[in-house]
């Protein structure tokens, strides 16, 4: 892990810089810290940060940018005629990367020496078989352009790495030297350090934006690749989901969307009435101690990890439902409507349980925001409490509750573990809640786990699904937050 050592080096140099800077400042003031412009620690920090920050920033940017630059250089080596029909440069490049990675592994494990790895030739050795022995599976035979590109790729990467190490080390030492040289008793160390710290704070805050950009770009790139390989009309308007790793897949999101929405609908059917009534009771009727007891207990449901709910669906709720609706004459109802434990109902009910506290605590907040004057007005006219709640409080809270339900819906649509374990894997349009169906998130998981080949539409479709999911949930959230905020303003 040479990069890790580099970081250790930078940290060590900074620590030394801190001590040195402090000492130098104190010396320049003749050991009297009162003669300094700033407190001695600031001189130390100034030197340490000067050594640390620029070098780490460069390191981070370098790590991000290098793969892209290398890719650019190497892709130039692939002649247009070497790109097979039905393929693209991007896909060939992903082969190149895989071969390069395979060679790396081979060298690491000692199956090839560094020299061999550089000199190996596609027309002499069966590279695919050799790498296959090492556990690096390649989709097709390695052609010589690809192999030489891969070798070049490794070479440039290695050079880049070396260069990076040198630059970062130089920056560290340079920063240290520069700041150290500037250190004397009149230097305004505090101001400089504070400006530096502020810059770091801003950097940290912008990470949120970077994450979003990362999410969008990473999915967008691969989605574009996907739409090069697969028609977008089939994706958005087709009717069948039938991935086939030999090619010729039908990959339409609609059946998945149907499963997702159906399961979410059932989940809301469970969570909304239960959550809403629980919230109403807790905020309008329950005495202090009941509330203090029941509310945190209900909220435990929200803190339970989804894997637990998934297991609950797969091993408890599913089999229980089969006992009721399945098994023919042995079942409780004597019917045979359900064959396996996974079904829309299984996943929907369990997800509903998970969402109960989500709905109830959001609604609780919203109901509490309805001014007491509203209730007084109604009670003062001789309404009962339930009339007050149904006819005054709930209508007044309606926009907020709608917002809460939308947030819950967005949760349900994006939920993964419960549907992966409880919903099943069959993509279809069906109204029968006792059948297995599949969802967007389950398909993302199944297309991206195991051996993924970033050159096949069957893998890339996951990114298109991902971005659709992202847009869908984001839209719901933005809408919900907007409604809730508008609602809050109404009573402020």
């Amino acid at each position: 892990m040479p990069t890790a050592w580099l970081v250790v080096f930078v940290l060590a140099v900074s620590a030394i810089g801190y001590i040195a800077g402090r000492r130098r400042a104190l010396n320049s003031a003749g050991g009297d810290s009162r003669a300094l412009h700033s407190l001695p620690v600031y001189y130390g920090f100034n030197v340490a940060l000067s050594a640390l920050v620029p070098s780490l920033l460069v390191l981070a940017v370098w790590l991000l940018a290098q793969p892209m630059l290398v890719e650019n250089r190497v892709s130039g080596m692939i002649p247009a005629e070497a790109i097979p029909e039905s393929s693209t440069l991007g896909l060939v490049m992903s082969d190149v990367r895989r071969v390069a990675e395979g060679l790396d592994i081979a060298v690491q494990q000692g199956a090839l020496s560094e020299q061999e790895a550089r000199a190996i030739r596609a027309d002499v050795t069966d590279v695919r078989a050799r790498l296959g022995d090492l556990g690096v599976a390649l989709g097709s035979d390695v052609r010589s352009e690809v192999l030489s590109a891969a070798q070049r790729y490794r070479q440039i990467t290695a050079t880049g790495h070396l260069l990076m190490t040198l630059v970062v080390a130089a920056l560290t030492l340079g920063g240290l030297g520069f700041a150290y040289a500037r250190t004397n008793k009149d230097f305004r160390a505090r101001n400089v350090v504070e400006r530096g710290v502020l810059a770091l704070l801003i950097l940290a805050a912008s990470l949120a934006i970077l994450t979003t950009i990362g999410i969008v770009l990473s999915m967008l790139f691969e989605t574009v690749n996907f739409f090069r390989l697969h028609s977008w009309t089939d994706f958005f308007f087709g009717s069948t989901w039938a991935p086939n790793f030999r090619g010729d897949s039908e990959l339409s999101i609609l059946p998945l969307l149907w499963g997702t929405l159906y399961i979410s609908f059932i989940a809301l059917l469970v969570a909304v009435p239960v959550g809403l009534f629980a919230a109403v009771y807790l905020s309008e009727y329950a005495h202090g101690h009941v509330r203090a007891f029941a509310k945190p207990l209900l909220e435990i449901l929200a803190g339970i990890p989804t894997i637990v709910y998934g297991l609950f669906a797969l091993l408890t709720v599913g089999p229980a439902l089969v006992r009721v609706f399945g098994r023919g004459s042995e079942g409780l109802l004597g019917v045979d409507w359900m064959s396996g434990a996974t079904s829309v109902l299984t996943a929907g009910v369990v997800m509903g349980i998970m969402l109960i506290p989500f709905v109830s605590s959001l609604s609780d907040d919203i109901i509490n925001a309805v001014p007491q004057a509203m209730r007084d007005g109604s009670l003062g006219l001789g309404a009962t409490r339930s009339e007050t709640i149904r006819q005054v409080v709930l209508p007044a809270a309606l926009p907020g509750i709608v917002g809460a339900i939308l947030l819950a819906a967005s949760r349900a649509i994006g939920e993964t573990m419960i549907v992966v374990m409880g919903a099943g894997a069959i993509a279809k349009f069906s109204l029968n809640p006792l059948e297995s169906m599949t969802t967007i998130t389950t398909r993302i998981v199944s297309q991206l786990t195991g051996d993924t080949d970033f050159a096949s539409p069957e893998t890339l479709v996951a990114f298109a699904l991902g971005i659709t999911l992202f847009v869908l949930t984001l839209g719901l959230n933005v809408l919900a937050l907007y409604i809730v905020r508008k609602y809050r303003e109404q009573y402020e």
């Binding site: 890790a4 793969p67 934006i209 990473s218 691969e222 629980a278 506290p357 998130t441 786990t449 984001l474």
Partner: protein
């Protein structure tokens, strides 16, 4: 007014000037009160349903999972026959190593044979069939024992073997003579033998620390699978999350809460953070796969990558709670610090931050707990499907070498065909929940202890 009294039914009391008596409920009031009671009943029912679900969940988890903490062992006196293990008799470790696990199997068969003869068992099973009661790892277990100290060769030692998962299931009531009708792995005759051995005390079910501290095992040996190694994987991930999310989260919050000017950029950042908090976790998994693994070529299944993904996922939570606790520090504190000539930065770092620290810590612990239980993103970066069979040696390996994580391990077990793994999945959940409860309790205690009213 007469209208009302007719509505209410019954003539007005003559002594009264207008309206009906208050002492008698009108039919309408009775109806309305019934509706009121129904409405309340719905509310109570809703809370009841919620609490019932909680109870069912908890009972389920503990009912199904406690079994994983005990395991069935079979104690046998094994004669470590020198003629089988060290033909040359010179105790040379290299020579002894040449004897594979197959070489140890006869010793176990012999031990069973002796046992049967001693106890005068009438099962009539062949020694091989008796030895099948043990875990498939029994021979390897014995071999490791011998290799650890070759001097034991030639002795007869009393050895505690892991029993096969069917035997274990029989002890735990999961397996019965009816349920094994089509099971090739165990026969009714073998169960008869087990019954005899139970009566005699050879087969015992005891606490099994290997489940908590041990490594995962292959499909064939549910009885040997443990969650210890994936616990380490989770630990390393949490270290990464803590090391990154806490400083970055606090820095971002300080900027947004204390320094940021109110402008469009700040607005964008704020909207961004609140939206990121609601992005489905699987999307972070896609991000991790695309950026960290596919683009930056970090290794698959590495806790470092898992930690990075979870960091990005937890950051919004930490930022939101940190900002809330910064906000709760009254402005007078800042003014006081500025008043004695501190810079804004000093006021924040010396006065505001320490006062907000308990709140920040609470939020961080809650964020960590959330990250600890998260599974979906880990599926995409390869932390599932990987058999975590070796504990990492050292910090670097802990971060970079493939591992699983607790929730991923649980998912992995749930997917396997043998129902014996289900018990382990539930058991794993108990351990996971113990961690989560501890963390949340810690957060609550922190909050209570340092709660401040200004």
């Amino acid at each position: 007014m007469t209208d009302t009294s007719q509505q209410g039914g019954g003539p007005a009391a003559p002594a009264r000037k207008h309206g009906e008596t208050l002492m008698k409920l009108t039919a309408r009031t009775k109806r309305r009160n019934a509706a009121e009671r129904r409405f309340q009943a719905y509310g109570i029912a809703a809370i009841g349903v919620g609490l019932l679900m909680l109870v069912i969940l908890v009972v389920n988890i503990f009912g199904n999972g406690m079994g994983a903490f005990t395991q069935t062992f079979i104690t046998l006196d094994v004669h470590l026959d020198q003629s089988k293990l060290d033909k040359k008799g010179n105790r040379d470790l290299e020579d002894i190593k040449k004897v594979s696990t197959f070489g140890y199997a006869p010793l176990i068969n012999r031990a069973f044979e002796t046992k049967a003869a001693d106890l005068d068992l009438k099962s009539g099973l062949k020694p091989k069939a008796m030895a099948d009661l043990l875990s498939k790892s029994a021979a390897a277990q014995l071999r490791d024992y011998v290799l650890a100290d070759p001097a034991r060769i030639g002795q007869t030692v009393s050895f505690r073997f892991l029993a096969n998962s069917r035997v274990d299931g029989y002890m735990k009531g999961r397996v019965s003579r009816e349920s094994i009708a089509n099971d090739k792995n165990i026969s009714a005759a073998q169960l008869d033998l087990v019954d005899e051995l139970i009566a005699e005390g050879t087969v015992r079910r005891t606490f099994n620390p290997a489940f908590i501290f041990g490594a995962d095992a292959s499909d064939q040996r549910p009885e040997a699978a443990g969650i210890g190694v994936s616990m380490l994987g989770s630990l390393f991930m949490m270290v990464v999350v803590l090391a990154l999310a806490l400083p970055i989260g606090v820095a971002a919050s300080i900027y947004l809460e204390e320094f940021a000017a109110k402008n469009w950029l700040t607005d964008i950042i704020e909207v961004n953070i609140s939206n990121l908090a609601a992005v489905p976790s699987i999307v972070f998994g896609i991000l991790g796969l695309a950026v960290f693994i596919n683009y930056m070529h970090l290794p698959m299944s590495a806790p470092l990558v898992g930690g990075l993904v979870l960091t990005l996922m937890t950051l919004p939570t930490i930022i939101i709670s940190t900002r809330a606790s910064l906000k709760s520090v009254p402005p007078s504190i800042r003014d006081a610090a500025l008043g004695v000539g501190a810079s804004k930065m000093q006021a924040v770092f010396h006065h505001v931050l320490p006062l907000a620290a308990p709140g920040i810590l609470t939020g961080t612990i809650i964020g960590l707990a959330q990250a600890l239980g998260e599974t979906a993103p880990l599926l995409l970066i390869g932390m599932v499907g990987f058999i975590a069979s070796n504990a990492p040696d050292g910090v670097a390996a802990g971060l970079m070498s493939p591992n699983s994580a607790m929730p991923a391990q649980i998912y992995e077990w749930a997917k396997r065909a043998d129902p014996a793994f289900y018990e382990r999945a539930w058991g794993g959940i108990i351990i996971l929940l113990v961690f989560l409860i501890t963390m949340n309790t810690l957060a609550v205690i922190l909050r209570r202890r340092f709660e401040r009213r200004w």
